[in-house]
Subunit: 282 residues, 2 copies
């Protein structure tokens, strides 16, 4: 499938490194990397995950048919903008950022029409960051959202989806950048806000470790997050996030009110509704 394609991964952190490892199995013509830490490139080339770069960074981009930008959101926009004149005509660029809204349009408006930028968001990850934790299996059975716009060519969207399927992603879901940000605020960003708030409300009086059960561990797991990245993600999607936080707060208040009023009927209603809704999505 990729034997005539040169692919470049930009940013060899957890996601970029995992991408490189998964793409290696698909046998592209060349698989190159761009990464500010030269030791990571050396390590990836030494272990035959990446091919050695022909000469310098600009040559890599000029010869790449597919480019995966796995940087933080602001750096993604900046990297593409700074290199917009270096990309090969007809190349396909995708990113891995957890927000899509204005990012996708900003990038598409920056680029020449011959270059196809398709936004992407792998619903995959690990608590620990960096190339050292990269693992091609993070994509296995995970979902992947792509956010094409009317500017993208159907053949390129399909090629990207085929690559992701070949990397063993479970579902490739297409939606608009706006829909992505509305949904992801609820399905990903709100659980992170909750995890952080739950763990920060620890009263610090007890040694809790031995009395913690599965429910607490699960609800707080993602509190171990990358603070710099998550500031960017929340700030860029703050309108949607504030809306879902408020919806969540109303439901907490409903339960609280039922407890204060000893309203067993309302409490039961909240529990039964939750049971039914959760069953539907599991």
């Amino acid at each position: 499938m990729l034997q005539d394609k040169n692919i470049t991964v930009v940013g060899l952190g957890l996601i970029g490194g995992s991408f490189a490892m998964a793409l290696r199995d698909l046998k592209p013509r060349n698989l190159w990397g761009i990464e500010k830490n030269p030791e990571i490139i050396k390590s990836a080339v030494d272990s035959h995950i990446l091919d050695a770069a022909p000469t310098d960074g600009s040559d890599i981009l000029a010869n790449s048919d597919i480019i995966i930008v796995a940087l933080y959101p602001k750096n993604t926009v900046q990297f593409i903008s700074q290199n917009k004149n270096l990309f090969k005509r007809g190349c396909v660029i995708t990113d891995t950022s957890g927000i899509k809204g204005s990012l996708v349009y900003d990038i598409q408006n920056t680029l020449d029409d011959s270059i196809d930028f398709i936004g992407g968001h792998p619903l995959a990850g690990k608590a620990e960051n960096g190339y050292i934790n990269a693992d091609k299996n993070i994509f296995k059975d995970s979902n992947y959202i792509i956010t094409p716009t009317h500017k993208n060519k159907r053949e390129n969207i399909n090629m990207l989806a085929d690559i992701l399927k070949a990397m063993h992603c479970k579902s490739i879901i297409e939606m608009s950048p706006e829909e992505h940000d509305r949904i992801i605020a609820y399905t990903s960003q709100l659980p992170h806000v909750i995890a952080v708030s739950l763990i920060n409300s620890l009263e610090n009086q007890y040694d809790l470790a031995p009395v913690i059960g599965g429910s607490f561990k699960d609800a707080s797991r993602v509190a171990v997050l990358n603070s710099e990245l998550w500031c960017e993600l929340l700030e860029a999607n703050s309108e949607n996030i504030l809306r879902v936080i408020e919806g969540f707060e109303k439901n907490v208040q409903l339960l609280k009110g039922a407890l204060i009023d000893k309203d067993k009927e309302l409490l039961t209603y909240c529990f039964q509704t939750a049971y039914k809704k959760r069953k539907e999505i599991s």
Copy 2:
């Protein structure tokens, strides 16, 4: 260890059934069950998990050295109160209720001093209830809180702890009934309130299943709960729960304020504090 002890499990639901299965491996003299559904008793006896009862329920209790009451909290108090004159002198009774506060003292005050009631709470379970889901492995590597008071004999507390260890529980933690309820409000009941509120705040506009990642699944997993039991648990511990909900709400409001004010410094502080605290308990 238990070859001269008759043990009775009262209530063969998920926890009681799992107890019976785990206790069977410890080879007690007799292992009996009391359960309102006679088919469950028959099934447990047929599959050699329980021994057949000598004659009727009252004979069982009069001959039991150890009794595990695995009923809902109110039914636990009621069962022990109703049968208080049937228990064997010197027997040890424990329960499995998720609240301990007044329950332990109410039961101890009901009973003759020759009968030792020791409160217990297995931090173990499954989303699905009932004997049909019982599994001795739910105790494996799980923590178990016991809440002895000054009324309990040390030898009986140690015997109970030894049985739980033999059932492969990871840690047996002793604390007062009051401390149990204070802590469990935070480590178990609050995550359940959060899971229910998270899932109930679903806007219902989208088919979310394919775009849900691990963070949402984890945070909402325990929303599939037993509504009748959880009404009892929350009502019996409402003062502690309201306190921890309010602590949690303050932390959500802090994050919300930081987002509204675009206060990156405060956002970073919240994230970094959460990261550090969560790392400490994992």
